[in-house]
């Protein structure tokens, strides 16, 4: 068995995500990404299952694995109990660890996501926060959102929020002790190294 196949199969999620695929197509049938992109979860599971190192490497260097929207609509339907959406998580992990993600347009977006979501978690303890949903970057949010952001300090309390406040409540400032523990968790579990690696141009293959 090749190196990539080994890496994929040694992931803790593998044995629950890919037991054996019979290529029935039920996952692709219901997949929103398959409707929108040139994407086929059945083919991805079949490729991984065949254990062809070359084919898998090709997969990890392309846009394909980045199209999944993680909705998991595939999970309740697969007649063999596979979870293509979770196989995708494993493939994305290996692609990033090997540096292959840099070779595809969709893969390179991981840098933007790390700078966005990844940094949000480490900076303020939220994945998403109004301060980070700036109207100029999100025209689809509309003028009502723009109004809210402009007036948030004065309007948020109306909703019972504790915007940037201490103590409990929505949109509170997460206390320093909690932030320190959160960052330590990232350090101990490799999350911080991963964060730094992706933001610094990633690991080289």
């Amino acid at each position: 068995m090749g190196n990539l196949i080994d890496l994929i199969r040694s992931d803790a999620r593998y044995e629950d995500s890919l037991k054996a695929c019979m290529n029935c197509g039920i996952c692709t049938a219901i997949c929103p990404a398959a409707e929108f992109y040139d994407y086929d979860p059945r083919r991805i599971c079949d490729t991984v299952q065949r254990g062809d190192e070359e084919q898998v490497e090709k997969l990890l260097r392309e846009d394909t694995i980045w199209y999944c929207g993680q909705c998991m609509s595939c999970k309740p339907r697969c007649p063999r109990g596979n979870v293509p959406g979770a196989v995708i998580n494993i493939l994305r992990k290996v692609s990033q660890e090997m540096g292959y993600y840099k070779e595809s347009r969709m893969g390179r977006q991981q840098v933007a996501l790390m700078a966005g979501i990844g940094n949000n978690i480490l900076e303020i303890g939220y994945c998403v926060h109004p301060d980070k949903v700036r109207p100029e970057m999100h025209p689809e949010q509309g003028p009502a959102w723009e109004w809210y952001i402009k007036n948030i300090k004065e309007v948020a309390p109306k909703f019972g929020a504790n915007y940037h406040g201490k103590g409990a409540g929505a949109l509170r400032e997460i206390c320093p002790e909690t932030m320190e523990e959160l960052r330590n968790i990232f350090k101990v579990t490799g999350g911080m190294d991963f964060h730094d690696a992706i933001l610094n141009g990633g690991k080289d293959d």
Binding site: M22, N23, C24, G25, I26, T28
Partner: protein
């Protein structure tokens, strides 16, 4: 008290209501192969609105080869049945499209592979290799289905007038009850025999025999052969009793 008994408590079809995503019992345009058989028999193939359908779709493996419904096995006879029903539809309604959605076409039995070819060549039945994930009722009483044409590698969404679910064979209630109470229950509640090749009518309990679909999915000819075999086995057994 008898010297020997033969269990022939048979099968029941998979209850299609259990595959909720296919909407049987909810959307009138979704029916089972049993419903279709009745329609064919009475020459009245009608869609949910009571009109002649323009398109009928058959879905294989409903309640078979499916971890989610608890039946991992293949029910053996549904592939042949669907092709037969598709041909009948095309005979009775020559203007109606008929398509069969399958994973494999298991045309067991003499002449049935040829019947598949006849279905394509003479009757214009189309075959799509893909399993249907979901069926939903539309505003106008038709059925919207989602599948993948795996040979093309493309997702497929289609609206049909009738979706026929090829329901699998399960052990009947009587089979399950008897199997448990006599302690001869096998996988999925079917009756377990001593050896599927050599002692396929013996249950292991002296004098207690089993034949037919109470043991596993079978075709008509299988059942008839199995009945003969059981009769012989019982005759041999009775002779040993003297």
């Amino acid at each position: 008290m008898a010297d020997a008994a033969l269990i022939a408590t048979g099968y029941q079809v998979f209850d299609a209501h259990r595959k909720e995503e296919l909407g049987y019992g909810i959307y009138k345009g979704v029916i089972t192969s049993l419903d279709m058989e009745q329609m064919i028999k009475h020459g009245k193939i009608l869609n949910a609105n009571g009109d002649e359908p323009k398109r009928i779709t058959f879905l294989q493996c409903v309640g078979s080869r499916d971890e989610k419904s608890g039946n991992h096995y293949c029910s053996k006879i549904c592939c042949v049945t669907a092709v037969k029903q598709a041909i009948e539809v095309r005979k009775q309604l020559p203007k109606c499209e008929a398509s069969v959605f399958y994973m494999d076409l298991r045309m067991w039995g003499q002449g049935f592979e040829e019947m598949y070819r006849t279905a394509q060549e003479k009757y214009g039945v189309s075959f799509v290799r893909g399993r249907i994930s979901e069926a939903a009722g539309t505003f106008d009483g038709r059925v919207q289905l989602k599948s993948e044409d795996t040979l093309m590698g493309l997702p497929l969404k289609m609206t049909t007038d009738l979706l026929v679910l090829m329901v699998g064979m399960e052990a009947s209630c009587g089979t399950k009850v008897l199997g448990k109470s006599c302690d001869i229950s096998g996988d999925y509640g079917f009756i377990r025999t001593v050896n599927p090749h050599l002692y396929d009518n013996e249950t292991g309990r002296p004098g207690l025999f089993a034949a037919g679909t109470c043991k596993r999915p079978m075709s008509v000819s299988d059942s008839i052969n199995d009945a003969r075999s059981a009769a012989n086995a019982i005759k041999d057994y009775l002779e040993t009793l003297g």
